[in-house]
Amino acid sequence: MGCRGTDAKLYGRTSAPVLFPLAEHIARSVLIKYPHFSLYSVPMAKKTKKTPARSRGQTARKKAPARKRKTANPRRWFSWSLVAKVFVVLLVIGAAGMAYLDAMVRQRFDAHVWQLPARVYARPVELYEGRVLSREDMLKLLDLMRYRRDSRASTPGSFSVQGNSLLIHTRGFNDSDGGEKPKRIRLSLSGGQIQSLQAGGEGLARLEPLQIGSIHPQHAEDRVLVPLEEVPPLLVDMLIATEDQSFYDHHGISLRGLARAMLANLKAGGLVQGGSTLTQQLVKNFWLTSERTLSRKLLEMPMAMLLELHYSKQQILEAYLNEVYLGQDGARAIHGMGLGAQFLFGRPLQELEPHQLATLVALLKGPSWYDPRRRPERAMERRNTVLGVALEQGALSQGDFDKYSARPLEVVPRGASALYAFPAFIDLVRRQLARDYPPEVLSDEGLNIHSTLDVLAQLAAEGALKEHLDNRDPKQDKKLNGAVVVVAPAQGDVLALVSNRNSREAGFNRALDAQRPMGSLAKPAVVLAAVRQPKKWSLATLVEDGPIQVAMPNGDLWEPQNFDKQARGAMPMVDVLAQSRNQATARLGLDVGLDKVAGTMETLGVTRNVPRYPSILLGSLALTPFEVAMMYQPLATGGFSTRLRSITDVLDKEGEPLARYPVSADEVIEAGPAFLTQWAMQQVVDNGTARSARAYLPEGLKVAGKTGTSDDFRDAWFAGFSANHLAVVWVGRDDNGNAGITGSSGALPVWARLMGKLPQRSLSQNPPDGVEWVWMNPNGQQVSAEGCGDARRYPMLEASIPQDADGCGAVKQTGKGIKGWFKGLFD
């Protein structure tokens, strides 16, 4: 992918030594070596599964003689002393086993009770007076963040609307700058802007960042850690009432519960009921598989007792609440109530209402059997049972019981959550993180990753691509697909990344990995290389658009054609770019020098090897959409190169800053040539090959860009920018076949729709030092004046302003211009 540089700045510890894999290794090996511990390792079900451990030679050999001694010929070997010996041996083995179990239990619990994957957040939404934000977008954001409507906005995560006025109770969050406390803010939105904001005396406020993903490369476990003091007490009450009423009295196992379960199992002729305490269930979740065997049960009991010996009820309860398995989301296992709340209701656990808490408790009896999405009736029945037990135990009043047992399940539809909604962007974050953090730190240490994703820009980009491709290829039989990269050019923030017309589908990341010939996107580099030699070229310089042939070292002739197969003759350089003339560009590029053009591409940020072939002038070099964004970024900022970043801050699980990915700025292109090139690219949109974009953009908005089409219409490109958004669009086919599209028809409409939906600022029309506006004679050689024939106004570098005037009108110029002319006398 090749971003320029990386280097996060570190502020705290990077990572603690990771003990966790060790504990897991032990737990796993115990499972495998399980038959060692027990002579009863026969699964209760008839269909005996062969465990791999048993077939292992050494294990089997060791154990087999022991068993034979006991059973094959008992009488021959029987003696009391033998019994005593066996008893002692068993005692020793038992004690050793217990010691081993004890170490295991404590290590896992002490070392790191929970594996916490890194969580990735979008950029927090900044609110301040004057910010461009429509009421519709504001409501869309609140909906995505699962704010609930509440007329008084009394608790964090709620809001109320009255016309254009909103009252929002924010949730608060940690950040490198200290973050925000939850607070109530009042704002009014009209005319597509925040008109007023009251936020406790502050002129600005932030909504907490939306979580958009988590990273767990090693094992697909995910978790949202909730400390016990933040768990709603009702949840704890319901949990104990339904799962383990004697929790506070027993020492890990409840004989009464067990007896009851065994009776039920005898009746059913198999294991149907657990009778496990919460502690046993925790042991099961922590260390053992869910296989229902008697042997597991026998291992579970001593472990549960050991756990109770070392840890308080509160610690065990907290561990249980954060560990318990609640279901599966594809490959991702849902562990713990915190994540369960997010997964089912899209909200933090603390914000759930009693009937929702009861749904979570209901799941414990069988996460798949009582899955509220797939089995709503069962889940509802079980939920009401839980509510009923809570009523019996006095945890819920009759009034509340009546009220909440009548409520629907209210689970959010699968996939409606912002979690995992932006797989392409998360992929980028993961790649950037992987350069600085080892995988186990990402998967275990609960890092909080603040990313640069702008949810509204992302949704706009997804929508624009989908809408356009659904138009052009409704049945998907043309197999068109595409990618979009949106960047805030000044800071290099990647605001959005789309790599598929069906944006939620993970898989091939076209934005980062589809490497395609850039076509005419290369042309601005040719123009830039030319105007960097101002004594030879200006944007007014005439370039011949006509047949051109170059003999290649291998004897071939390179004969570029124009798109329309016509030759237009001499035309000003700016028109060569605006009309995307191939033959004139080739001629210009060869005059400037291949080395100069290739060098300019490298200066702009192309990190691939740029071969010094004439065909690079017309874009034979293949880049990914992300790399094109890197190359266009300095063009968008007037010559300052910035690393493209998808991450701003990394915090540890307590919210303390660990590292920053700071913004940077390197002046790689001089102000003058950068301004001229940007202006020439504006002509592409104002009256060149991209003028159709105007229909989607606010009138008068100054934007710049370039269309690109590769040979045989395989790739359609558009890359362009305003002052605050740079967007690159690629459309084509994965099999690299003829897509029958051009930059103007295939990619530009996506760009225009997208840019039209985002708040834009115009590119500056103020020339930097050393550049001025000059009326030029169409011959490109003489200064002219306004209103003279076909005179046109150009931004000119002082060194390229001709000394000659065409004599028409009064040559009216600024002081600097005269000076430039004056200086020219001596040059």
Binding site: T648, A665, D666
Partner: protein, 148 residues
């Protein structure tokens, strides 16, 4: 003929001077010149407070947020340059100082200050010639009447 040319030269010279003479002494450039009434100003103040307490990560985050609100503020880029210099990252400091110059209003004192900043940043990178050039630019902007 040569005389005429000289007269021409002198008259053009004078014209050039007249235009480039800076206006009467200006108010000192401060943050509020660009940021008065903008929420970016309060973020800038928080950034300065954070820096004084040695919390550079927080200071940076505040400044980046401020730039999102006021992207054309030269002063914010100058503050970033100062911060980077403080952190020992002279290369970034130079980049931000040059960016600040790009956006700087027509205010000789302020521009000279920025060139000084560029000079310091270059010096710290061991670029003596570059530093001298920047110092020259700094004195050029301050020298009224001299074409720049």
């Amino acid at each position: 003929m040569q005389m005429l040319f000289r007269v021409l030269v002198v008259s053009f010279w004078l014209t050039g001077c007249a235009v480039s003479v800076p206006d009467a002494p200006k108010e000192p450039m401060t943050a509020s010149v660009e940021l008065e009434g903008s929420p970016a100003l309060s973020l800038l103040q928080r950034a300065e407070a954070a820096r004084q307490q040695g919390e550079t990560a927080a200071a940076e985050r505040y400044l980046e947020r401020a730039l999102n609100i006021a992207p054309d503020s030269s002063w914010l880029y100058k503050s970033l340059a100062d911060l980077r210099l403080f952190e020992g990252d002279a290369r970034s400091a130079e980049g931000f100082a040059l960016k600040a110059l790009r956006l700087a209003p027509d205010h000789p004192q302020y521009r000279a200050e920025l060139w000084e900043l560029v000079a310091t940043a270059r010096e710290r990178q061991g670029d003596k010639a570059g530093a001298d050039e920047a110092r020259q630019r700094a004195s050029d902007v301050l020298m009224p009447g001299r074409p720049v």
